[in-house]
């Protein structure tokens, strides 16, 4: 029963003009530069978002004053082809080692100097009893601003 309509994972694909090696490096080493800035779970502005390389590497957020919040860990580290992250934040903003949803990312060469990045976010139904809190946490920081940004981007594209 893991692959039902109910549990259908979110799948996204994006093509970038770069080699898989470069795409993998940007995804991991520069995650703090591309992760949407208002998607932090600290009560203060995020200073850094860090993904430690290698299996078991910690994925965490750090504020300017040094406060850290762990998001999860690396489950699979196969540069430049594949990365699996455990996202271990429950709906109370807490890191819980016994909770996780998985994000798998594949980097597939797509012609010279281009890469198709395939992302799968699965198990999100596991938020279960924590889901309301999780959505509240995300929404408080990002709900309307995200929608308005999407709207603005759409308007710009329509020109």
């Amino acid at each position: 029963m893991n692959d039902t309509n109910a549990a259908a994972p979110i799948r996204k694909t994006i093509r970038v003009e770069a080699t898989p090696e470069h795409a993998f490096a940007v995804f991991t080493e520069r995650i703090g530069r591309w992760w949407p800035p208002h998607y932090g779970l600290l009560s203060q502005p995020r200073h850094e978002l860090i993904l430690e390389p290698g299996i078991g590497g910690r994925w965490y957020e750090r504020a300017a004053d040094g406060t850290e919040l762990t998001w999860g860990k690396v489950l699979a580290w196969e540069p430049p082809q594949r990365l699996v992250l455990a996202w271990q934040i429950d709906g109370t903003y807490q890191y819980r080692p016994d909770f996780m949803v998985e994000v798998e990312v594949r980097f597939l060469a797509d012609g010279p100097g281009a890469t198709r990045v395939e992302l799968e976010h699965r198990n999100f139904e596991r938020y279960g009893e924590y889901a309301a809190g999780m959505l509240q946490a995300l929404d408080s920081a990002a709900g309307w601003s995200l929608m308005l940004e999407g709207f603005a981007a759409e308007v710009a594209r329509a020109d």
Partner: protein, 110 residues
């Protein structure tokens, strides 16, 4: 937002989750659902009412029976938020890749 939160709260209950997962395999009547679960038929009906109110399942009558099925629209709402998140995150990832992938010799490339 409220709608999505109701959906997720509805699935917080383990019995409701198993009802929901059974319906994901195909439409069923209350009686069939109740036979496979360690709860009474009235309890199953109550859980179904919650799932229905949250937009996750819908029902239609076939004679005297009510057949329940997953409401794809409710599920779509539930996933929409994370879906939008990844659209934005990956777009921003691509911008970062391109900003840092200038050809060799390009002075803008650190």
């Amino acid at each position: 937002m409220t709608y999505q939160m109701e959906s997720l709260t509805a699935l917080a209950d383990p019995t409701r989750r198993s009802i929901f997962e059974r319906l994901a395999q195909g439409p069923q009547a209350v009686g069939e659902l109740a036979r496979g679960l360690p709860v009474s038929r009235p309890a199953v009906s109550q859980h179904l009412a919650v799932l229905r109110a949250s937009g996750l399942v819908r029902a239609h009558a076939e004679g005297t029976r009510h057949i329940y099925r997953i409401d794809p629209q409710g599920l779509a709402e539930l996933r929409a938020w994370l879906d939008r998140f990844w659209d934005q995150a990956l777009e921003s990832f691509r911008n970062e890749v391109h900003a840092s992938a200038a050809p060799p010799g390009d002075k803008r490339n650190p």
